[in-house]
């Protein structure tokens, strides 16, 4: 399966999406990432029972934090898929990339470059 997905997506492996913390997502945006999304297992199939639910809660929380800060909440998203769904993974990568392109670059990166 030689699937293509946008080269701008950088994958960071974690043992479970439940490992992803609020601070990880915030730091990504703080350091200039245009968007960050968490891809977890399908809901109800977590090996640790609730890792992906916890991840979703954290993603939702970070969305509210971004709104408070003055950034678009859609820069952070959560997706779910099963381990065998390569094409879906590529589709989500395309969807997220299109979404972020429509939002434009992270304004914080411009600030960092200008300062």
């Amino acid at each position: 399966m030689r699937l293509q997905y946008p080269v701008n997506v950088k994958i960071i492996l974690v043992p479970c999406s439940g490992k992803v913390d609020v601070l990880h997502l915030l730091r990504a945006i703080q350091k200039g990432a245009d968007g960050v999304y968490v891809v977890g297992c399908l809901e109800g199939t977590c090996h640790y029972n609730e890792g992906n639910f916890r991840a979703r809660e954290r993603v939702e929380y970070v969305k509210t934090l971004l709104e408070e800060i003055g950034l678009e909440s859609d820069r952070v998203r959560m997706y779910n898929l099963a381990s065998g769904e390569g094409p879906t993974f590529a589709a989500y990568a395309n969807e997220m990339t299109d979404l972020i392109r429509s939002l434009g670059p992270n304004p914080l990166r411009n600030k960092a470059e200008n300062s």
Binding site: D21, V22, L23, L26, R27, I29, Q30, L65, E68, I69, G70, L71, P107, L108, K111, A112, S115
Partner: protein
């Protein structure tokens, strides 16, 4: 433990709007356990403040330090050398910690980042329920271990009132009547006669700051 919730971000941002260099001090005890003011929460708030101020073209330099407890002098000592490098201090501790910090560093402003909610039990991760109002005259021994000051909407020492409604409180159907619970608990323990003991009205000593010295710890007068 003491529980608190974080102030709205906008309020914190406004408190710090005139300052360029701020030290955010977390507290590693109660507020860390209730997930509002520990080391991690300090980092999250700092990240938010950093981004928000950059977006406003008014960058802020933020320091982070979490002490074991802000209500203990020995732990505040480690801040002595750090605080002088900052224009202001933000405290993520309860109201006690904020005041103790402000008392130790009277020359610079100390701002609160959380609203202290009360004394609560941990029902589940991130879920806390108030159980004590620190009224200074505990009647739990006579009420089956259920606090009427906290659990009764009127804080009645001798209840229930006429608003008790088949186990619910008149102010909210989902709020159990404290005195109904007390009756059931005492009945279960075969101690219903205790409910007949009348309690004096609460001495609202908490109108003034209370000082507590445990027996054997009073210093000899000089």
């Amino acid at each position: 433990m003491i529980v608190a919730k974080r102030k709205p971000f906008e309020e914190i941002k406004n408190l710090l709007k005139d300052y360029k260099k701020v030290l955010n001090v977390g507290c590693g005890t109660c507020v860390a356990v209730c997930l509002v003011g520990g080391e991690k929460e300090v980092d999250v708030l700092n990240a938010e403040l950093d981004m928000a101020r950059k977006l406003e073209d008014n960058p802020i330099e933020l320091g982070a330090c979490t002490v074991e407890r802000q209500c203990d002098r020995e732990y505040l000592a480690e801040l002595d050398d750090k605080v002088k490098d900052y224009d202001a201090v933000l405290s993520m501790a309860c109201g006690v910690g904020v005041q103790f910090l402000a008392e130790r560093f009277p020359d610079i402003p100390v701002f609160p980042a959380v609203d202290t909610s009360g004394l609560a039990v941990n029902q589940a991760v991130g879920w806390y329920e108030e159980r004590c109002r620190s009224c200074s005259s505990c009647v739990l021994g006579l009420t089956g271990g259920i606090c009427p000051v906290t659990m009764c909407a009127k804080g009645l020492y001798n209840g229930p009132c006429g608003g008790t409604n088949n186990g619910s409180c008149e102010v909210d159907i989902d709020q159990p009547c404290a005195w109904y619970m007390i009756y059931e608990r005492l009945q279960r323990q075969g101690r219903l006669d205790v409910i007949k003991q009348l309690h004096q009205a609460v001495e609202w000593q908490n109108q003034v700051p209370r000082t507590l010295i445990q027996p054997g710890y009073k210093k000899p007068e000089e």
